[in-house]
Symmetry: D2
Subunit: 152 residues, 4 copies
């Protein structure tokens, strides 16, 4: 999805960005991994994960679990930016192809809404490995989200 | 896949169990999450993840990233138990349905080989939330693995 | 999922079997392909597809589109058997691993409910190639269904 | 993936287009469904499927099996355009989200290579419903292909 396509989307709740930040701050796993929320736009969220040996698989690359964690949160919050107030987002399912070793100074996960529905929303997921100026696609996937009433 | 079906499988490399343990010990992320390798059998591996607030999503449940991390490692090592010596395992792709909130004293991920091929192996993934004696399915998925030459 | 696990399920609507048969009879594609509904049980449906050159891919095996068609219908109706009256079933998404060439006298798709929810239901999909007495797994997958109000 | 991104790809075998046409002509299912190959470019293939009641599900929309059939072939041939001579393509797995009812005068499936590898290739799949000038996304998915030696 191009940046042009993104502009189809607008926040339905003016507090959406603040709600994303507050929810992200409550995700214990994001702090444990050391992930940062680096972009919030209508229908698009990006999360970065700096490299640490604490995040690796057996060959020293980022473990697919870390890749999946930031991809899932990026997609979930991308959907959440388009939800009405007093709702929450849950992941129904996601699928991830690990197309190249996840390596670099940091990973950047990009979640983008492909289709926003009243109940279900579908996101495109991409994860890039960045080393200096170079960005390499390391994972591509899709995700289905459900909009549920906010828990009191 | 039932325990009966599992018995189709046998280790092809007598050192398979030791190789799984050594590889797991090199996965920095498993230590960071606090995951334990609790079962290694031909074509089946189980990994447990005790609950900690450091592993949560916004509502206090286990984050799908943690669920995915142990599911991916359990399936990857389930496949690896059937690989010949001097090979390594990489995840091609996986898909996970999050069918219930991931909650409990710990999660247990079960990876089981559905079909073992020379190049590609397919695994069934299940993740259960355990509280005392009760075990609830919280995620179900599938995974494709590739057998590659071991890196020197 | 074993036959034992299946017995957890019961029809919620006594007319479920008749509704499955009526809906299947309205699927033009099933007639075009020559598919037969061969088993309807609570949470489990099986559909067979006899071999014809009209169903092949480039090497003479069954085309993955035919495999997917009967797998999708088998899973969809497996879920539908557990839905209340005055509802319909739609497929949200499915994923299929083609683990062996789809060949034989016929294919048999087995859809089984893994988790039945009020809104979303998740099914396990398996497709076997049968030649005489021998049955070989040729595809394994998962499917997410949504329960929607019946159209007038 | 934009048209710009597509231009990264070039045919590796000058006979690629002819090989795609010959292989498509051998897919019995494509003729049975009435599908047409409408675009072959390096890393991108499109297949159209005109509406007929013979292709429907229970509500008169295109059945997901038809959608999946043309999506799978479009992605498979998109990958095949980048394969060397004397090879064939097999689908390892695919996943499809059905994001809107598949309706219109015809469906158009677009398969595009996201990452071309020596052994495995990953494609993006989109299926649109077209009515007159209007094109609506009805399915989005991903596919993993494997390059195998051509059968004699």
């Amino acid at each position: 999805m191009s940046r042009t396509a993104m502009s189809q989307h607008t926040f339905r709740d003016p507090g959406a960005e603040a709600r994303v930040r507050a929810s992200f701050a409550h995700q214990g796993l994001m702090a444990t991994l050391g992930a940062d929320l680096i972009l919030i736009a209508p229908g698009r969220v990006e999360i970065a994960l700096p490299y640490r040996p604490a995040l690796t698989q057996q060959n020293g690359y980022f473990h697919a679990g870390g890749t999946a964690a930031i991809a899932d949160s990026a997609g979930g919050y991308a959907g959440f930016t388009l939800f009405p107030a007093n709702t929450d987002v849950l992941t129904v399912e996601f699928k991830l192809n690990l197309v190249a070793p996840a390596e670099g100074d940091r990973l950047v996960a990009v979640g983008e809404v492909i289709r926003a529905g009243r109940t279900l929303t579908v996101c495109d997921l991409k994860v890039y490995g960045e080393r200096g100026d170079r960005r390499t696609l390391c994972a591509a996937g899709m995700q289905t989200l459900i909009c549920v009433p906010e828990r009191p």
